[in-house]
Symmetry: C2
Subunit: 213 residues, 2 copies
DNA sequence: TGCGGATTCTATCGCGGTATAGAATGGAGC
DNA sequence: GCTCCATTCTATACCGCGATAGAATCCGCA
C-alpha cells in the first residue's frame, strides 16, 4: 500500500474548497478573486489551478459540497416515524443546524449559485428542487392526515418556510442572542401554529390527529 | 416657464437608474458591467458617466430609490388604526405589493447592497433597520395587547417574517400561480396563526384589540 | 441664425483579474 | 543517490472593465 500522496492531495483539495467557500461567502462570487482564495491558503494564485480548472468550477464544487447529504437527511426525516408536525419541526432544525460549522457553504449555495453557467446551475438546482419537494410532501401529508389546515397552500407555504429559514443564514452569527437552537425553536413554533388545523389546539393536540373520517 | 431641458434630464436620469436596477438585478452588481447598462439605454458606455460618477454611486442610487417611501408607508400602517393582527397582515401585503412594478429595485436592495462601500452601505442599512423596528414594534404591541403569544420572541419572529417575505422576491414571477395576492394571503395567514395567543381564535378575533389603556 | 446648456460621442488610459506554460521543489520508495 | 509524482512556483499573455478628457451634437430660444 504505497498510497500516501493521494490522501494528502484529497485533504488539500478539501481545504481549497473550504477556502473558496469562505471567500465566496464573504465577497460574493464576482467580488472574490482567485488571488483572495490563494491568500487564504498561503499559496500563489496560479497554484490554485492545480485544484480546479476554472473559477466557475470552484463555485460549482462549493455549491455541491454537502447539499447531497443535506437532501438525503431531509428525505430520511420525511420517511421516518412521527407526525407531520414532528417532521416539520425536525426539518426546520435540520435545515438550520449545519450552519454551525458549514455556514460558508450554505451561504454560497443560497446566494451565488445563480452565477453558475447553465449546465452546472441546473445540476445544482436539482438538489434545491428535490429539497423543496420533500418539505412540501411533509406539509401535504399533514393536510391529508388532518393535522394541518385543509385550505393550506402547500406550495407557497413550503417556499415561505424555506425562505424564512434561509434568510436566517444572513443574520445568524451577527444578531446577538440568536443561537441556532433559539432560531429553530421560534421558527418551528411559528410554522407549526401557522399551519395547524384551527380547532385542535394545544389542549387536544396531545391526543394526535383525529377529524377526517 | 422656459423649463424643458431640466425635466427631460430628470426623466432620462430615472430611466438610467431603472436600467441599472434591471441589470444589477439580473447579473448581480459585480457580474454586471457598465456596458450592459449602456446597452439597455442604447447609449455608449462612457455616456453613463454623465448620470453617475461611479458604478458604486449607481448602486447606491438604485438601493435608495423608493425605500424611503417604503419605510414611510410601513410607519403609517404601524401608527394607523386597527388591531396588531390587522397591521401585521397589512405589513405583509405592503411588503410584497411593490414587486409588481419595482421588483428590480427591491431585489437589488436585498441582494446587492452589501457591495456598497462602508459609508453608503450604512446610509442604506439605516432604512432596513428602521423597517425592521417598525415590524417588531407591531409584534410587540400585539403581545402587550394580549393578541399575540406572551412568549413570542419578537425579534426573531420579525426577522423570520421579513425573511420569508423577502425570499418570495426570488421566485415571484417564476413560480407559476404565485400571484402577489396569493403569496400575501398565505404568508399573512401563516404568520397570524403562528403568532396568535392560543386561546383566542378566529371567533373572538374580529372584535379587535382592547385591553391596554 | 447663432447662443448656450444639456447630452452623447470618440478615444484612450491603466489596472486588475483569469488562465496558461513550463520550470522548480520536495518527499516517498527503490 | 536517483526516480517519480504531486505540488507549487515564476512569468506572462490576454482581455475586459471602470473611468477620464475633450470634442461633437442636439435643441430650445432670442
Amino acid at each position: 500500500m504505497p498510497r500516501r500522496a493521494r490522501p494528502a492531495r484529497k485533504r488539500r483539495a478539501a481545504e481549497t474548497t473550504a477556502a473558496a467557500a469562505r471567500v465566496f461567502a464573504e465577497r460574493g462570487y464576482h467580488g472574490a478573486t482567485t488571488q483572495d482564495i490563494a491568500d487564504v491558503l498561503g499559496i500563489r494564485q496560479a497554484s490554485l489551478y492545480y485544484y480546479f480548472r476554472s473559477k466557475e468550477a470552484a463555485l460549482e464544487e462549493v455549491c455541491l459540497d454537502g447539499v447531497g447529504a443535506y437532501v438525503a437527511r431531509a428525505a430520511a426525516i420525511m420517511r421516518g416515524p412521527g407526525s407531520a408536525a414532528d417532521k416539520l419541526a425536525q426539518l426546520v432544525r435540520h435545515h438550520i443546524a449545519p450552519w454551525r460549522d458549514r455556514a460558508d457553504f450554505t451561504r454560497v449555495f443560497l446566494r451565488e449559485r445563480h452565477n453558475l453557467p447553465d449546465a452546472s446551475r441546473h445540476r445544482v438546482g436539482r438538489y434545491a428542487r428535490r429539497y423543496e419537494r420533500i418539505f412540501q410532501q411533509v406539509l401535504e401529508a399533514g393536510v391529508a392526515a388532518g393535522e394541518f389546515r385543509r385550505d393550506l397552500d402547500c406550495r407557497i407555504a413550503t417556499l415561505g418556510a424555506i425562505g424564512m429559514c434561509n434568510a436566517a443564514s444572513a443574520w445568524y452569527g451577527v444578531e446577538p442572542g440568536a443561537t441556532l437552537e433559539r432560531i429553530a425553536g421560534v421558527f418551528a413554533a411559528l410554522l407549526l401554529e401557522g399551519v395547524r388545523t384551527p380547532m385542535m389546539r394545544r389542549t387536544s393536540a396531545r391526543s394526535g390527529a383525529r377529524r377526517r373520517g
